[in-house]
Amino acid sequence: MAILKALKLFAATPYTSSPLIIESDSRVALSWLNSIGKTTATTRVSGLKLVSFMNQGRSSLSFNLRPMLALLRISCAAKPETVDKVCAIVRKQLALPNDKPVTGDSKFAELGAASLDTVEIVMGLEEEFGITVEEDNAQSIATVQDAADLIEKVCSEKSA
């Protein structure tokens, strides 16, 4: 089963209709979503499937969703240890002070990384995890989470 990427949930408040947008590349999640409501699925080249559907204003839908999606949220991101290792390598490469927060959501550009930094970070990650990343993937990662997910993907493909 493909690893679920970070689940971003814009929770619908009861009695309002607002879009519920979920990003994941898990077929399980998608088929589940398809079964509970109207869905329109659009796929993006990068393999990230974006599913959005409108809550037609019924509050029950959002209430039912919340506990399920909270469960999914826990299991979906790359392992925390992976994210932590990535953060440490990023910190070192960009020489960030200890008080500067680096998390999964941190964007490399916002941390002050130029393209050369991003590639150096990826090379550092390859060394740390014993993997090789495709060149065009390396230059396109934008956040720490992207890097962690890519690492886990490559690691799982390697051991498959």
């Binding site: 490469q93 927060p101 916002e110 130029a114 050369l116 090379m123 550092g124 060149e135 230059q139 396109s140």
Partner: protein, 314 residues
């Protein structure tokens, strides 16, 4: 006369930007700002006023004063730079809108207003810790990249080059014995390749670094191969013939500079095919250091700009 031209919405405390002529075809205007030179909080606040609400939110989300400042200056630089090129009426830097092309490259979204014809301006920005630069051309796409000269590469340069550069480039780099020189040559090559990919505007996956070679060509006696910097398909180690339809050289013009003694700047612009003349006309270049609304200094032709590669006319 269009009344809209005279509306000024921005802070009355800011002096107007000195209006400028558009670059001519085959000309690049390079503007740069040194973040360390901008210290006034009042000025930074005024720059903040120029940003769109969305941009301001993005800037405010960034943790760390230095990074925040750099992000702010980058947006302020782009907006003020483009706003300088006024044709018939004043452009308010705050009113400029931007969008990304389908590959994610930022571009100006000119508004459809009466009596206002969109300017055929192209721009590209690049930032490092100590410099933010914006290149502007007319009619043709541009890509720029700046890097600190003294930047240390953490990984082994040969390994790095073997991963990302073409065989020809790797050979060239590994032949350099002095590690310091090797590092600098690596950075120069990196900025040139980066500028080329950014000029193409299709993202890194469309043109991985390994698939093309950048070569410096010294002036040849017989003039068979004109001097300059060329781009060719990675598999070709010899300078390609101009009859080759996949030949990249004739389409793109590259230049490499050392700026302010501290940075390498690479510029890549598409040749304007509507301009007649020889295939290797020099790239006209004007380099200006700026603190928007405070001072603009033209440094072309001074020691602060050193042409390292490409055919450049300052």
């Amino acid at each position: 006369m269009n009344i809209r031209c005279f509306q000024r919405n921005f802070s009355a405390a800011l002096p107007p930007l000195v209006p400028l002529q558009l670059p001519s075809p085959m000309e690049t205007h390079l503007w740069y700002i040194l973040p360390d030179e901008v210290k006034s909080v009042a000025l930074l606040n005024q720059y903040s006023e120029l940003l769109s609400p969305c941009e301001r939110e993005n800037v405010n989300r960034i943790c760390g004063d230095q990074l925040k400042k750099r992000a702010l200056l980058a947006r302020a630089l782009v907006r003020t730079t483009i706003a300088r090129y006024q044709m018939n009426c004043e452009i308010n830097p705050r009113s400029l809108k931007f969008r990304k092309n389908i590959y994610g490259k930022p571009e100006v979204e000119w508004q459809n207003e009466d009596n206002f014809s969109p300017l055929p301006l192209h721009f590209n920005i690049s930032h490092t810790t100590s410099m933010i630069a914006c290149g502007v051309t007319v009619n043709v796409p541009i890509g720029i990249d700046v890097e600190e000269k003294q930047r240390r590469i953490k990984n082994n340069i040969t390994a790095f080059a073997q991963r990302y550069f073409s065989p020809y480039e790797v050979k060239l780099l590994t032949a350099i014995s002095d590690p310091e020189v090797q590092c600098q040559e690596f950075i120069k090559l990196w900025t040139l390749k980066e500028a080329y990919v950014k000029a193409l505007g299709k993202g890194f996956s469309a043109v991985p670094f390994k698939t093309f070679t950048i070569q410096f060509r010294a002036p040849a006696i017989r003039n068979l191969h004109p001097p300059g910097i060329s781009v060719s398909e990675a598999s070709e180690e010899i300078v390609e013939s101009s009859n080759d339809p996949t030949n990249l050289t004739n389409n793109w013009q590259l230049a490499l500079l050392e700026v302010a003694g501290s940075h390498y700047a690479a510029i890549c612009m598409e040749r304007d095919k509507t301009v007649g003349g020889e295939a290797n006309m020099p790239m006209k270049l004007t380099v200006r250091k700026t603190i928007p609304f405070v001072e603009d200094v033209c440094i072309s032709g001074t020691d602060a700009v050193l042409a390292l590669g490409g055919i450049i006319e300052q």
